[in-house]
Subunit: 174 residues, 2 copies
């Protein structure tokens, strides 16, 4: 599948609602469980997605369009949400993510990106040269893989309880 801006919007604009339906009013055991030390719970993931809206996607797209490869992106802090989410309820985080995502997409639409823009390059601090198209594709894939992560982490909470069926769940043994 080739990158397409409209098909990308289709995913980016529904992620907040998907996470809201998936996580609202769940018992804390589902929301706070993780996969072990240094791994994300569903609660952590929402905080991480908020950080992405605040400091990653939009800033990097701007860097590409304004500075090209002349300036490297600011490295993204994958654990910034530990501090930033402190004291906030899941509902607050879901609300915050929804508002930020709406803003990001309004901003993105106003750029009226052309095919030429999509091939503009930026400089990733570790990966080197990347195009705007790759950045936007990654934004979409990042949403989807974090929903995959959230549901895998939730499923893992029943890992012991499913007994011999574990043999059929390759995904739970990662």
């Amino acid at each position: 599948m080739k990158f397409d801006l409209d098909k990308s919007y289709q995913i980016l604009e529904r992620t907040p609602s998907v996470l809201r339906i998936l996580l609202s009013d769940l018992h804390d055991d589902w929301v706070q469980g993780n996969e072990g030390p240094e791994t994300f719970s569903p609660y952590d993931v929402i905080g991480h997605l908020i950080q992405g809206e605040k400091t990653d996607w939009r800033d990097r797209a701007t860097m590409i369009l304004e500075y090209g490869t002349a300036r490297s992106f600011v490295p993204f802090d994958r654990f910034a949400q530990v501090e930033e989410s402190k004291g906030k309820s899941l509902k607050q985080l879901l609300d915050e993510f929804e508002v930020l995502r709406k803003d990001s997409l309004n901003w993105l639409r106003l750029l009226n990106l052309t095919e030429t823009d999509l091939f503009k390059m930026g400089m990733h601090p570790d990966l080197g040269e990347v195009t705007l198209k790759q950045l936007l594709s990654t934004w979409v894939a990042h949403d989807l893989t974090h929903i995959a992560q959230v549901t895998r982490v939730m499923a893992k909470q029943y890992k012991e309880e499913i007994g011999p069926w574990i043999g059929y769940f390759r995904i739970l043994t990662f």
Copy 2:
């Protein structure tokens, strides 16, 4: 996390809405893409979940409660949906799944399962003795891992487009 009937209902009853929000009105490229031969697209997964409601979870719970280990479960056909979904739109499948799931949960609630019931045993054709509690836990984990699968499969459609970022997405290389 220990098995709990109420916490299990929380997941089982929201799965149809989660899949509806995630997949409705998406371009076919998102819905029909899979991970290669003999793998499921998001469209296939909904058909598979429908088959589960029709021939798996409820039938097996009934077998446990009525026959214990005296009769083996009927093996589940993981590819039955290829025929059963033929000619149906994604919307039709999502509607069908929602209705069937609602019925299944109404039925399950009416059983008024006791703690003793949860430890009753049945006979799986391959796995041997399993408890009702393990079956119900598996039902929950099965929902969640299929949502994880759907979103992973969708993310994979952009695997080529994300360029060097692929190095950060372990999940896309499975």
